[in-house]
């Protein structure tokens, strides 16, 4: 029994929606990061799905690039979050508004 491609896409859409909702509502930088990762992986899932259904290896290749970039981004991002936490003992992004106009 094969699961239809549409299901994967629906799952991906739901995951992406959760990610967006999390980024927009949560204040903690760490949680926002996790939500971003969720969004990235939701997109990855759509890539893989289409790669299978269209028998095109390109989609899967792209996923690897996304994973590498995401890993690098997390490294830098977490580094920044840790540095901020050291100074302020809080990771609320709403407090980090010094660069306002």
């Amino acid at each position: 029994m094969t699961i239809p491609a549409a299901w994967y896409l629906v799952l991906a859409a739901v995951l992406f929606g959760i990610g967006v909702f999390g980024v927009l509502t949560r204040r903690s930088a760490l949680i926002m990061f996790m939500c971003i990762e969720l969004m990235l992986n939701a997109v990855n899932l759509t890539f893989v799905t289409f790669a299978r259904s269209m028998s095109d290896i390109g989609g899967q290749t792209t996923v690897f690039f996304v994973m590498v970039v995401a890993a690098a981004e997390v490294t830098v991002g977490l580094g920044i979050v840790v540095a901020i936490f050291r100074r302020r003992s809080s990771t609320s992004v709403d407090e980090l508004s010094e660069l306002q106009g």
């Binding site: 967006v20 927009l24 509502t25 926002m32 992004v93 709403d94 980090l96 660069l99 306002q100 106009g101």
Partner: protein
């Protein structure tokens, strides 16, 4: 010839370079000796070239130095044209320069900028000789600008003095106006003949239409009025007296100011094409001669009198050119160089003896204190006044005879000027050398001292030349006169109607009578006076309000334009535009900065909304 002629201009250049390069390591004495001897050598080279030219059958030799500019159809050689006209100029320029250099070694002794003075003087001689020897208009222009620059430096030689600095600027700017004329003439000639060398221009002069020829002549006249201080550009010359007296003698009396006359005579084949152009020249010359002479009657500064007298005498030369008497113009130019250099150097000697005083009201009775300056000045005075048999009588007579043949009203003006010349020069003579001694206050009760030999020797030589200069061109020596020598270089003008000896003698008698009346008038009026508001008309003293007129017509309107530019154009329009632009950018920035809240989640929301819009748009397009 090819080897000697370039040396005429090379020697002063070498002197200039020697002093420029080694100036600081040479003593003043050595600098003076070098500067004087290079000009002397240049004179010797001129004499040798002159002798060689006399033995040359064609009397016209072009000495190629090198190709200067060669672009497409424009070819300008650096070449010298040795012909009777240029060699005559060279002889008197180098000769008088040598004497004045010698005089300056003593006159300028003790000046802090002694070396700089001789530097400029050598450079001036080099430029002047380039001007007269050049075989094309472009090279002449180089010399023309060179003498202008040296004149500027030497007028403002005492640049710490405000008057000297502004006099230099005034001279420079007036000269620039004239220079435009020379450039325009050059452009006109080149566009119509494609020639710039004199020989080439004259051989293709037929390509110039009468209108173009007249325009060229008028442009040349403008150039001459600038350089030779003629109406309407004459009033820089009296101010130029701020320079040291030897400079006034050399540049602003004997040589540079005659460059305009030289240019007109050099271009005489073009002048021959335009009778209306020649008439304009004659009128400008005649009127300048008269106006300057009237001004000279009311000046109190000894050098100012001589300056206006120079303007007046050059007016005679221009008048002579205008009536086509080129030979007479050059004859007067040479004689004038002798006697005006003599008068200026004599005045310099007087000023020197009084420790720098130039006001004639503070002179008087100097005859017995200056045993060499006095007799030489006496000769200069008689010469310029036109007393026979001195050079001035012959030269001025030659000019006036020719003017009489062509234009009677201008001749009357010329005779009036001759009377005024005798009058103002006698006034100067009486006020300076005769009458009571009024200089004690200036000299702190000391006796005035005669100048050293190096200063008086040039005076004696110039006095001798002034006495015998007339033999250059005696009216009855047709075959061996200066005019006869020069004539091959002149353009053909309508032949002067032959004048009977009786008429010539009659005209000479009129000159002499005018002179004698002038002398008597001056002696009667000024023997017992020092100043007089009746005889020194304020209108003349203030130079016919010529400067004021320029001020009213050019100076003040331009100043108003400048004020309006500053207050309205600059403040309101330009600054307004710049500040308005800046202000509007700033105000819009104030508005836009509110968008930068610093809240990361707001940015994220904006991104999400933006992405949604894009997706909706793309989906819409797919449908």
């Amino acid at each position: 010839m090819n080897h000697v002629a370039p040396l005429i201009i090379v020697f002063p250049l070498v002197g200039f370079l020697l002093v420029v390069i080694n100036g600081r390591s040479l003593s003043n004495r050595l600098v003076g000796t070098i500067a004087t001897s290079v000009v002397g050598l240049s004179f010797v080279a001129s004499v040798i070239t002159f002798v060689l030219l006399l033995h040359d059958r064609s009397r016209e030799v072009t000495v190629q130095l090198f190709t200067w500019i060669s672009v497409d159809t424009l070819h300008v050689p650096a070449a010298l044209l040795v012909d009777p006209l240029s060699i005559t100029m060279c002889l008197f320029v180098t000769g008088i320069s040598t004497l004045i250099h010698l005089y300056s070694t003593a006159y300028m002794d003790g000046e802090t900028d002694f070396r700089k003075f001789f530097l400029y003087l050598n450079l001036f001689v080099f430029s002047m000789l380039t001007l007269v020897l050049a075989n094309n208009l472009v090279l002449t222009f180089v010399g023309w600008e060179g003498v202008g620059a040296c004149s500027y430096w030497l007028i403002s030689f005492y640049f710490e003095r405000d008057a000297a600095a502004s006099a230099g600027k005034k001279a420079f700017i007036y000269n620039r106006v004239g220079d435009v004329g020379l450039l325009l003439a050059m452009f006109l000639i080149f566009t119509h003949t494609h020639m710039l060398t004199y020989v080439g221009i004259f051989s293709s002069a037929s390509l110039l239409s009468p209108t173009i020829a007249t325009l060229v002549v008028l442009a040349l006249l403008l150039a001459a009025t600038g350089k030779s201080a003629q109406i309407p550009l004459f009033n820089w010359l009296p101010d130029a007296m701020e320079g040291p007296t030897p400079v006034s003698a050399l540049i602003h009396a004997a040589t540079m100011v005659t460059a305009g006359v030289y240019l007109l005579v050099r271009m005489s084949p073009i002048l021959a094409l335009s009778s209306s152009g020649r008439l304009s020249i004659a009128i400008i010359g005649g009127v300048t001669a008269f106006v300057a002479a009237t001004i000279a009657t009311a000046q109190k500064d000894i050098k100012k009198v001589l300056a206006f007298s120079t303007v007046s005498q050059i007016g005679y030369m221009v008048l002579a050119v205008g009536v086509g008497a080129y030979g007479a113009a050059i004859f007067l130019m040479v004689s004038h160089a002798f006697f005006k250099a003599l008068l200026f150097l004599g005045a310099g000697s007087v000023i020197h003896s009084l420790g720098g005083e130039q006001d004639m009201r503070k002179m008087g009775g100097l005859a017995k204190w200056l045993p060499l300056t006095f007799p030489t000045f006496l000769v200069g005075w008689l010469t310029i006044s036109g007393v026979p048999p001195f050079a001035g009588f012959w030269a001025k007579g030659d000019v006036l005879t020719n003017v009489y043949a062509h234009d009677k009203p201008l001749w009357v003006l010329g005779v009036l000027t001759a009377f005024l010349t005798a009058y103002y020069m006698s006034r100067l003579f009486v006020l300076t050398f005769r009458g009571t001694e009024r200089f004690r206050e200036v000299t702190h009760q000391h006796d005035p001292h005669e100048s050293p030999l190096v200063m008086t020797a040039p005076l004696v030589i110039l006095a001798v030349l002034s006495v015998f200069g007339g033999v250059l061109d005696l009216p009855w020596a047709h075959g061996f006169s200066l005019t006869h020598f020069l004539t091959p270089t002149f353009g053909v003008v309508a032949a002067i109607p032959a004048q009977s000896t009786v008429l010539q003698t009659g005209l000479a008698a009129v000159d002499v009578v005018a002179t004698i009346i002038g002398l008597i008038a001056a002696f009667t009026i000024w023997r017992g006076r020092v100043e007089s508001s009746t005889y020194e008309l304020p209108f003349f003293e203030h130079v016919w309000h010529w400067d004021d007129a320029y001020d009213a017509v050019l100076g003040r309107p331009l100043e108003r334009v400048a004020v309006v530019s500053n207050d309205v154009v600059e403040d309101r329009i330009i600054d307004g535009a710049v500040e308005g632009l800046g202000g509007s950018v700033q105000r819009s920035g104030e508005g836009v900065r509110k968008l930068q809240s610093g809240m990361a989640r707001q940015y994220a929301l904006a991104m999400v909304l933006g992405a949604t819009v894009i997706v909706v748009y793309l989906v819409g397009r797919v449908r």
